[in-house]
């Protein structure tokens, strides 16, 4: 606060934050009042600066926390859109460039292709593990759910974990998890949010690889007719290794952290770890709704939180809009499966709030928040 003794212009005062807060909010932390009275000349200057500040008020923007939160959500959507466009353009461009080389490379490719097919064919017999083989191996009674629709479908498992199953995908799981392990079998693509239970690790069997987790969220993409299997981790930690059913399997185990991914090349039985998922055009393009939305809420209306959940899991939530119109919550739901998210929301609202789930329909009953 020594610098103020050298102030000679109104400008000096106007840009002084401590001075501003004295004038505009009446918080005099640095003893401005006393300092001002020390000299008459100084008092005149201070008075002018004060009037100037009072005359320069700027209208407040009326943005609430929830306005800003909503703006942030829509910005993330814009970002994903733009990233997709960018990589698609990038791909188009490289295809275009490659054309120039096609003619030169053509003769070469034929030879290579022949040997490639040969290799592939012989490998197929011993390496490739299919969903059917996996299921046959399992003796417990399994429930199979197939998504033949064109929208993702939510499945809730007996331990509270949720799986968002993509179209043309199948998931087999025991009606109730018994024993010390939780095992499910996937063909196609699913986004998993696993309820935490370190004593009962969770395994996803998909084609030739096994993903082991304790509690986390991640995506597995393993279509039987596609050349690779992808695992993408959003939260927590995941271990991936190849299935012992696959003849060439080795003991290699790969650890994945949030926003890391792994691509398993089925023909070569090779793992490719991807540490920067945004640089991978294929992964970037296939990001689902649920992975883009933020579940960090800071004083946000319940209606908006439920809307976010609806968008993420493609479910319908029915709730008493009037009774909950004034309820705001601050909570972090990022690392939770759907049922857990709903439980937390209901518990936070209080007032005997509960929910019921029936397929894609969720009904919340509540007497309002306390």
């Amino acid at each position: 606060m020594q610098k103020r003794n050298k102030y000679t212009e109104i400008e000096d005062f106007l840009s002084d934050e401590s001075f501003q807060s004295w004038i505009l909010t009446n918080v005099d932390q640095d003893g401005w009042e006393e300092w001002t009275l020390e000299s008459r000349q100084r008092a005149k200057l201070v008075e002018d600066a004060r009037l100037m500040l009072l005359a320069m008020k700027v209208p407040d923007t009326e943005l609430t926390k929830s306005d800003i939160h909503r703006a942030l959500q829509s910005t993330w959507l814009k970002i994903r859109e733009k990233e997709n466009k960018k990589t698609v353009q990038g791909l188009n461009l490289s295809v275009f460039r490659k054309r120039f080389l096609t003619a030169i490379a053509a003769t070469l490719v034929i030879g290579l292709a022949a040997s490639w097919y040969y290799n592939n064919y012989s490998k197929t017999e011993n390496n490739i593990v299919t969903y059917k083989e996996l299921i046959d191996k399992n003796s417990e009674g399994l429930v199979e759910q197939t998504n033949n629709s064109n929208k993702p479908q939510i499945i809730t498992l007996s331990d509270g974990s949720s799986v968002l199953l993509q179209p043309d995908s199948k998931l087999s799981y025991p009606k109730i998890f018994t024993g010390n392990e939780r095992k499910v079998y996937l063909s196609g693509e699913g986004f998993f949010e696993i309820s935490k239970n370190p004593k009962k690790p969770f395994f996803v069997y998909a084609n030739e690889i096994v993903t082991k987790v304790v509690g986390t969220s991640f995506r597995v993409k393993a279509y039987s007719d596609q050349p690779d299997v992808e695992i993408l981790v959003r939260t927590g930690k995941v271990k991936v290794k190849s299935n012992e059913l696959s003849s060439k399997s080795n003991d290699e185990e790969i650890v994945l952290l949030p926003n890391q991914a792994l691509r398993f090349l089925r023909n070569d039985m090779k793992f490719n770890k991807i540490t920067n998922i945004t640089q991978d055009p294929v992964l970037v393009q296939s990001v689902g709704n649920i992975e883009q939305l933020s579940f960090e809420f800071n004083d946000i209306p319940v209606s908006q939180i439920l809307e976010t959940i609806e968008q993420a899991y493609l479910v319908d939530i029915d709730y008493p809009k009037n009774k909950l119109s004034d309820c705001h919550l601050t909570t972090s739901l990022s690392d939770q499966p759907l049922t857990e998210k709903l439980k937390i929301v209901c518990k936070s609202i209080g007032g005997n709030t509960s929910f019921e789930m029936n397929g894609n329909q969720i009904i919340i009953t509540s007497e309002g928040c306390n």
């Binding site: 002018d48 009072l54 320069m56 700027v58 209208p59 601050t330």
Partner: protein, 203 residues
């Protein structure tokens, strides 16, 4: 449920900015939440279309994330964002008036009207009178001078940063600020003595 106490405000802009460049989504969100409101209010002073302004500000943040790997790490974050918003809005004008040739950042006018601090209840009549008069003078200043004053005293930019934003050299920016206040003081001094006279004669 854990209700967390946000410690976000303790982390300074540049730390967040550098984490963002390295791909940290949380830092991006924190910077967004910290500056969004201010940027929108600055945008609104340049364009009367409130909805498009929000769009522009979101586009600025979108580009920040998408092109984060090419961002400079040593910037004044606030100044960078403000100036990006200004350029965005200028571009918007360009697109909306395809047939207008002259659309550059210089052409967007600063529309904001300064208002009077409402909380003058404790103050005497004379102060109110003075403040209102001063406010009128401020609002009559040329748009560029007004904008410079706004950036200096409301968004706390330095003269260098203002120069860069308004695309002029340091001296011109400093002149804009100075001339603004100078005109004000000249007119005001005359008016003030008048007011005092009127006031004292009415006693």
């Amino acid at each position: 449920m854990k209700t967390r106490i946000l410690q976000a405000n303790l982390v300074d802009d540049n730390t967040l900015w550098n984490d963002l460049i390295l791909g940290d989504e949380k830092s991006f969100s924190l910077l967004f939440e910290r500056h969004y409101s201010d940027l929108v209010s600055y945008g609104n002073s340049l364009s009367p279309f409130a909805e498009k302004v929000q769009d522009c500000v979101q586009d600025v943040f979108t580009d920040v994330w998408v092109y984060r790997s090419s961002l400079q790490s040593a910037v004044v974050v606030k100044a960078y964002l403000l100036s990006s918003v200004r350029k965005r809005i200028a571009r918007l004008y360009e697109r909306d008036h395809i047939f207008r040739k002259t659309a550059s950042t210089d052409d967007i006018a600063f529309l904001l009207e300064f208002s009077v601090e409402n909380d003058l209840l404790d103050d005497d009549y004379a102060t109110k009178e003075k403040v209102t008069h001063l406010n009128k003078l401020l609002n009559e200043l040329p748009a560029r001078q007004k904008e410079a004053l706004y950036l200096r005293y409301h968004q706390a930019l330095s003269v260098e940063q203002i120069a860069e934003m308004l695309d002029v050299n340091y001296q011109s920016a400093s002149n804009l600020l100075h001339r603004g206040l100078l005109t004000l003081r000249k007119e005001w001094k005359g008016a003030l003595s008048l007011i005092t006279l009127v006031f004292s004669s009415s006693l």
